[in-house]
């Protein structure tokens, strides 16, 4: 569904994306991970045709975001990191404006607006100004607006930042359901447990390029090491003792998480 080869994107002299290559298959739930400044948001901007790539090749649903921007934006739905809505307009007005800008009109627009209200669970608040909504409600509406035009791919850039657990669960459930209906989802977040819970494939990006990618299960297997899963974690000390007595070096005594993997690959130094 999305093919990126050797993408380079700059802001002036600063290189934000440096030779990024990705293959995101249709129907996948793809996690895009990386520390701040890794180039994730810039890559998304390039996908949506908002930022022109310096070099490289991008295809979204077979279309070139620079030359076939309109087609790409029909295929792609972007849920931005910020609450990109008109605060002084009501919920329904925001849905109508952005739906209209996407080319929806008449009965179809009304149907999609109702769908968006349902999706964001904001039907009861349809006439409220967006600026008067809670953070969680705004996030849900942000998601609904991004998906209003029925894209085949949803790129969600930290869609749960700063929301309460209820809204987060609602967003998860919504994305899972849409994914099951055939939507390809690209998901970026700093909450790694979200990726573990949702994604089937991931790519870890650092300093503008992919440092690891593949199916989540494979990546968590590690590289040439054996993983022993204890059925009774309380026996951990005895098991370790027995293994060491047998001459087996024990590296870790806890389960490996995605966070471990990411920190291993990208380091623990703070980023700008």
């Amino acid at each position: 569904m999305i093919e990126i080869e050797g993408l380079v994107a700059r802001y002036g002299r600063a290189v934000a994306v440096d030779g990024l290559s990705l293959h995101i298959p249709e129907g996948s739930f793809f996690g895009l991970l990386g520390p701040n400044g890794a180039g994730k948001t810039t890559a998304i901007s390039c996908l949506a045709g908002l930022h022109p790539p310096s070099s490289g090749r991008i295809r979204v649903g077979g279309f070139d975001p620079v030359r076939q921007r309109r087609e790409v934006l029909d295929v792609l739905g972007v849920v931005p990191q910020t609450i990109a809505l008109y605060g002084r307009l009501s919920v329904v007005e925001n849905l109508r404006v952005f739906g209209g800008l996407h080319g929806l009109h008449g009965k179809r627009l009304s149907e999609r607006v109702e769908w968006g209200l349902e999706l964001s669970q904001l039907t009861a608040h349809r006439t409220k100004r967006v600026e008067a909504l809670s953070g969680g409600m705004q996030r849900r509406l942000n998601l609904a607006v991004g998906l209003l035009h029925e894209p085949r791919v949803a790129v969600c850039d930290e869609p749960t930042a700063g929301v309460d657990p209820q809204s987060r669960n609602h967003i998860f459930a919504t994305l899972r359901e849409l994914h099951q209906q055939g939507l390809t989802v690209v998901y970026t977040t700093h909450y790694l447990e979200e990726v573990e819970a949702l994604c089937d494939r991931i790519a870890i990006v650092d300093r503008g390029h992919v440092v690891r990618s593949g199916p989540l299960a494979e990546l968590l297997q590690g590289r040439g090491t054996k993983r022993i899963e204890l059925l009774h974690p309380t026996d951990r000390a005895r098991v370790v003792e027995a293994l060491e007595a047998a001459g087996i070096e024990v590296g870790e005594t806890r389960g490996r998480t995605l966070e471990d993997l990411m920190l291993e690959l990208t380091g623990s130094a703070l980023r700008e």
């Binding site: 949506a48 908002l50 921007r69 609450i83 990109a84 605060g87 952005f98």
Partner: protein, 438 residues
């Protein structure tokens, strides 16, 4: 132990004040260009305004056309005296030329001195005879300039008469004329005529004997012997009268609408900063169309405002409307100007703060120099010439043409086209140079 909120008094209160003040200062310097503009704009505004609306020595002389039907020596002296006055530039012309110069706006007013003016400018006219009517032709919009010119003319006339009375020849002439006048006056008895003849002879003797002269005029002198009678001229409508409501409704509306444009520019930049504009672009909307569409919304608000303002002006304050289609065209073009100006301002201003400083500065300058607030005659010539490059000048002149001047519709359309041209240029530059991301 958890920290408890500091009490609102004492040292803790002072610390709160200090931290909040520090925060505000940090915010101030966080946008260096905005900080520089904060200092620069008042200085620029002060320099500009003081150079334009300066004290007397900066005021340009007022142009006055003088046409004398039969220029005798006293009339010529008056014209020379006016010419020597630094507050006036005198252009000598025939009555027809004088009229044409006022029509075209080259001169504030024309003074048409009739044949009787020669007699009126002699000292006897201070004591006998009716004042001579003198036509002052003026453009209705320049009445304030004509007030000044009339004062100057009257002063010169009276000084000329005083100067003549201060000379022996002048006084001798005056007393001789009194003798002649009273001798031939049919209303006087023979005895009265004899007394006046004796008075005249004594006066002549006294004037001849007193070589120094007192320079004072005789008691019982009247006002100026020239009765300045105004006649307004207008290019389009001879009956047009300058209307203060029409003038200030136009000027203040123009400035208010430009402030509306500044608010729209501010909103646009805030939308960019909050990410809503990026989402608009991600909808596939063409960038220029998206900007122009937003500007059209502002234009609509401006049009409704403009119509409401002028409708109330017409209904409540009797603002005369010369051409309804002309006025509508002007209001429409003014609304387009609001859209174009908002885009230009949003593209020039990098941040909301820069726009909030730059906008009022530009609007005040354009409003003042374009004649929205004060009469343009007090400005130097070069400013008046340069003001033709300001949309506010076109807007104010066009609205004047459509209202109290009573210009034909086609003339109003010409002014409206000028405003529209500014709108298009502003809008085009704004839409093409707008930065979609900071």
């Amino acid at each position: 132990m958890t920290a408890s909120p500091p009490p609102p008094w004492g040292l803790a209160g002072l610390r709160t004040l200090g931290w909040m003040a520090r925060k505000e200062l940090l915010r101030f310097v966080a946008d260096p260009a905005g900080a520089v503009l904060t200092f620069l704009v008042p200085i620029l505004l002060a320099v500009l305004m003081s150079s334009v609306f300066a004290p007397r020595d900066f005021v340009d002389p007022l142009p006055l056309v003088v046409a004398a039907v039969e220029p005798g020596p006293h009339v010529r002296t008056l014209i020379d005296r006016l010419d020597a006055n630094p507050a006036v530039i005198v252009r000598r012309a025939s009555p027809d030329d004088a009229r044409a110069q006022v029509f075209s706006g080259e001169a504030a007013a024309a003074l048409i001195l009739p044949g009787d003016a020669e007699r009126a400018l002699q000292p006897l006219s201070l004591f006998a005879g009716d004042p001579v009517p003198v036509e002052v032709l003026l453009d209705p919009s320049r009445a304030t300039e004509v007030d000044i010119l009339e004062g100057l003319v009257t002063r010169e006339v009276m000084q000329q008469l005083s100067a003549e009375l201060a000379t022996d020849e002048g006084r001798t002439h005056l007393f001789r004329q009194i003798g002649l006048l009273t001798a031939t006056s049919p209303g006087l008895s023979a005895a009265a005529k004899a007394r006046w003849a004796a008075f005249s002879a004594a006066g002549v003797d006294l004037a001849t004997a007193d070589a120094g002269g007192s320079g004072t005029t005789a008691s019982g002198a009247r006002g100026s012997p020239l009765d300045l009678q105004r006649r307004t001229l207008d290019v389009f409508n001879p009956k047009a009268r300058w209307n203060a409501y029409a003038h200030y409704f136009a000027g203040m509306l123009t400035m208010s609408l430009l402030f509306l444009a500044a608010t729209a520019a501010l909103n646009l930049v805030q939308e960019r900063e909050e990410g809503a504009l990026a989402r608009v672009r991600m909808s596939g909307a063409h960038p220029v169309l998206a900007l122009v569409g937003g500007a059209m919304g502002t234009m609509f608000v401006a049009l409704v405002t403009a119509c409401a303002v002028f409708a109330s002006g017409v209904a409540v304050f009797d603002i005369p409307v010369g051409s309804v289609p002309g006025l509508l065209a002007m209001l429409l073009s003014l609304s387009a100007l609001v859209g174009g100006f908002s885009l230009l301002l949003a593209s020039v201003g990098q941040t909301a703060r820069q726009i909030s400083i730059m906008g009022p500065f530009v609007i005040l300058v354009m409003g003042f120099l374009g004649g929205s607030a004060v009469p343009t005659f007090i400005m130097p010539d070069y400013v008046r010439t340069l003001s033709i490059f300001l949309p506010t000048t076109w807007a104010n002149e066009g609205l004047a043409a459509a209202t109290w001047r009573g210009a034909p519709t086609l003339v109003c359309f010409e002014w409206a086209s000028g405003v529209l041209a500014f709108s298009l240029v502003f809008g085009l530059i704004g839409a093409l140079s707008f930065r979609w991301s900071r």
